[in-house]
């Protein structure tokens, strides 16, 4: 591609947080959907892409886009008390987006989740603790397999 692309023009941020149960009475899944929807709407405006996973009461979210927009979005998340025990796992400069097609892809387990999805989510959760970039790749491949599965 051109010179701009080869430069690390994007930031990718990975954080985890626990679902703060007492700040709202609704089901966590509902909160996840709400968060994903509002953030997708915000992200379209601020040119951010990413994904939000929810595993065992833990949010795992990736934000990628222009560095200052990622910074702003993360600051907004930091001001949100629906999160507890918020941990910044990784912040790196990247030349390409991993989640180009998603304003904010959302994956979580519920009663209807397939065994494969559950395993996939668990693996992501495990990877987050040891290798952030591996976790990001795993999140993308899980999303891809889901959307393929959805179409079939």
């Amino acid at each position: 591609m051109n010179a701009h692309r080869s430069h690390k023009q994007f930031s990718r941020l990975l954080y985890t947080s626990a679902f703060n149960g007492d700040s709202s009475a609704v089901q966590p899944q509902q909160t996840v959907r709400d968060i994903a929807e509002t953030s997708a709407a915000n992200n379209r405006v601020s040119d951010i892409t990413g994904s939000l996973f929810f595993v065992d009461g833990v949010f795992i979210q990736i934000l990628e886009g222009p560095p200052d927009e990622v910074e702003k979005t993360f600051e907004r998340i930091c001001c949100d008390f629906r999160h507890a025990d918020l941990r910044l796992i990784d912040l790196t400069g990247v030349s390409e987006r991993l989640f180009e097609e998603w304003d904010m892809a959302c994956l979580y387990e519920d009663q209807e989740s397939s065994l494969a999805l559950r395993d996939g989510l668990q693996e992501v959760r495990f990877l987050v603790g040891i290798n952030a970039s591996q976790a990001a790749l795993q999140m993308r491949s899980l999303l891809e397999s889901q959307s393929v599965g959805g179409e079939a």
């Binding site: 910074e71 600051e75 930091c78 001001c79 008390f81 910044l88 912040l91």
Partner: protein, 680 residues
């Protein structure tokens, strides 16, 4: 009385009234504008003076022409354009000069010359205007009225200037404005009394009057506009002034960087709340927040990044508090919150918890991650006090306690905190005194070879007995000495004295002295040690310096340099309290360490605790493989001793063998043993 007759019989009353209103409005405006020359200096002053003269001149001119509209001479009239314009210039120019002189410092010159100039220019305007007035008839002038009009105009103008100067910038401008208006009106109508037109027989009356009326109306409208402009410039100026006053007020009460209220506003609000508490009994909580690890951010990421962090802190605080709570920045990295209407302690804890939580989250600034944290002190009104001073004091104490606690977070004020702080203050004072008097004592705890049971040396320990509070534990007073910056001095004294004492011991016995992290950072340490050795004649090879892991953290280069230098001169280095801190193996590898001392907390859990036994075993093996000696501290029972001996520690010390004892006792102890050995 011709003036009144003329006014009554020869004028249209409505138009005369309009002229009078015009005159009064114009006068008020120009006086108001002229007042600004009192408060301004330099060019600004001339600009206001000009604006005032422009309005006043227009008022004079307009009054004249409107009044002329109302004049009914009964003949047709025309106006000479050139003279009309000239009369306007005379009015503006003359008033301008008059006002300038009128604002001079000298009262006499101001009143008489300034007033005179204004009065004469009003008159000049009027009579030039009258020359422009061409009536088709025989014009007659009565000189006595002309003279009277001049005198009245000058007199009233002078009075107006005098009153104007007296009024200064006050709001009561009615009198000077009235006098000025009177000068204009009086001159006009006295002047008109001096003027009469007798229609020429044979000429048709009212022939060209339509043209005159149109022109006069145009002149009046223009003059109206000018006065309108004068009024609006006054109003605009007043609005800007009140706006800039609001801005000043805002700046005075707000912090420029974070837009939060500043310390001054905080004090005012707190006072007001205390007042409200007394009158209405409405309770509130006071939180004071101190950022942890903020200075390093300024140092490493730079001040601009530090500023952004502070702005983000401010914004997060606004999110953490409830709507309506008061947030202020009261210092560099100190903030305060006044939370209203909180009644239960749970609610207050929840709020303080939110503040700690939100400020503990990472900050990203220019792609860099900054991890901060916050300590929060909380006090409640009226529970802990009902005046601002007491509340701030309680909150400060709670904050101080929060900052010192192992686990950072918030602390609610408790009276016992005060005692802790009080004790610390006393200790600080006493320690300073003790340092000057060298009131510290050194005691020695023998170290024993675990295989043979023979003495191998002793560790020098610092003791301090406070004259009022009795014996104080080293774990309490040494950190205070470190904070007060006294430890290096005392450390040097200990080293000197210990070397002196140990020089008297049998020659196979070593001396161990503790070195605090602060001392280790001091590049003069090797020199101090060498000096102590030299003075006492104690050999370097028998001295061992005990350091802790915390001393090795972060300051690699300086510490490495110092330790290498000490090691080169034959002094041994041991790592104290091993196993409690980071216990990093890389330290053991990198730094020239010759001995590991297992922390007594492991030893004391022996032999029952399996975990501690494993740790002791691991450390002993580690020491053996790295060719380091291992000492176990704090042995109190035979069982512990048996267990330690089994693990293969080289040396042991503890109450089981001996408590720390004074210099002469340890000397005796060592010599007795030597004598016994020699005898055997």
């Amino acid at each position: 009385m011709r003036v009144l007759t003329c006014l009554y019989h020869e004028h249209n009353h409505w138009i005369v009234a309009l002229a009078a209103i015009m005159c009064i409005v114009g006068s008020l405006t120009s006086v108001k504008l002229f007042q600004r020359t009192f408060t301004e200096t330099g060019a600004q002053r001339y600009q206001w003076c000009f604006l005032s003269a422009f309005t006043a001149g227009s008022a004079i001119w307009a009054t004249h022409f409107i009044a002329m509209l109302g004049y009914q001479p009964g003949v047709s009239v025309t106006l000479d354009g050139t003279l009309t314009v000239l009369s306007a210039l005379i009015a503006v120019g003359g008033t301008g000069v008059g006002l300038l002189v009128g604002s001079s410092r000298n009262r006499f010159i101001a009143v008489f010359t300034g007033g005179g100039i204004i009065g004469l220019s009003i008159a000049a305007m009027h009579y030039v205007g009258m020359f422009a007035y061409r009536a088709d008839g025989i014009v007659r002038w009565l000189p006595e009225y002309v003279i009277a009009s001049l005198i009245l105009s000058v007199g009233l103008s002078s009075l107006a200037i005098d009153r104007l100067r007296q009024s200064g910038v006050s709001k009561h401008i009615g009198l000077p404005a009235g006098l000025f208006a009177a000068a204009i009106v009086t001159l006009h109508f006295t002047g008109m009394a001096a003027f009469s037109v007798i229609p020429l027989p044979g000429l048709q009356s009212g022939g060209d009057s339509a043209a005159f009326t149109t022109l006069a109306q145009a002149v009046a409208v223009v003059a109206f506009l000018i006065i309108g402009a004068g009024i609006s410039s006054h109003l605009v100026d007043r609005r800007t002034k009140s706006k800039s006053q609001e801005q000043l007020q805002y700046i005075a009460l707000h912090d420029a960087l974070t837009k939060l209220s500043n310390r001054r506003a905080f004090s005012e609000v707190l006072e007001a709340e205390c007042e409200k508490l007394k009158n209405q009994g409405s309770p509130f909580a006071l939180l004071m927040i101190d950022l942890d690890r903020f200075k390093p951010i300024n140092d490493t990421l730079g001040h601009p990044s530090g500023d952004i962090v502070l702005q983000k802190v401010a914004s997060r605080l606004r999110h953490a508090v409830r709507c309506g709570d008061f947030v202020a920045r009261i210092g560099g990295d100190e903030f305060a919150v006044i939370a209203y209407g909180l009644t239960s302690e749970d609610e207050i804890r929840a709020l303080a918890g939110r503040v700690v939580e939100i400020l503990g989250r990472p900050f990203i600034v220019y792609g860099q991650v900054a991890e901060l944290g916050a300590s929060v002190g909380v006090s409640l009104a009226p529970d802990h006090g009902n005046d601002a001073e007491t509340l701030v004091q309680c909150t400060d104490i709670a904050l101080y306690t929060a900052k010192r606690a192992e686990e950072r977070g918030y602390r609610l004020f408790e009276p016992s905190m005060q005692e802790v702080i009080q004790r610390r203050r006393f200790l600080e004072a006493d320690l300073r005194r003790a340092c000057m008097r060298e009131d510290f004592k050194i005691v020695y705890q023998p170290i024993i070879d675990s295989a043979t049971g023979a003495f191998t040396g002793a560790e020098a320990l610092l003791r301090w007995t406070c004259p009022e509070r009795g014996e104080v534990q080293p774990s309490e007073f040494i950190p205070i000495l470190e904070e007060l910056g006294l430890i290096s001095r005392i450390g040097a004294g200990v080293l000197k004295q210990a070397c002196h004492d140990a020089a008297l011991w049998p020659q196979h016995l070593g001396l161990a002295v503790n070195i605090s992290p602060v001392q280790l950072l001091d590049p003069r340490l090797p020199q101090t040690v060498m000096q102590a050795l030299e003075d006492s004649g104690f050999p370097a090879s028998r001295l061992e310096l005990e350091i802790t892991e915390t001393a090795l953290l972060g300051n690699d280069d300086i510490v490495m340099h110092t330790l290498t230098k000490l090691r080169e001169s034959g002094i041994r280095i041991s790592l104290d309290d091993f196993g409690t801190g980071y216990s990093s193996l890389s330290y053991l590898h990198r730094f020239p360490i010759t001995r590991i001392k297992i922390d007594k907390s492991f030893v004391q859990r022996l032999p029952t605790d399996e975990g501690s036994a494993s740790i002791v075993r691991a450390i002993t093996q580690l020491g053996a493989s790295l060719q380091m000696k291992v000492t176990a501290e704090g042995i109190e029972t035979d069982e512990q001793m048996a267990c330690i001996a089994e693990q293969g520690c080289n040396d042991v010390q503890g109450f089981l063998f001996s408590r720390p004892i004074n210099a002469s006792s340890i000397g005796d102890l060592f010599h007795n043993e030597k004598n016994k050995a020699a005898a055997a």
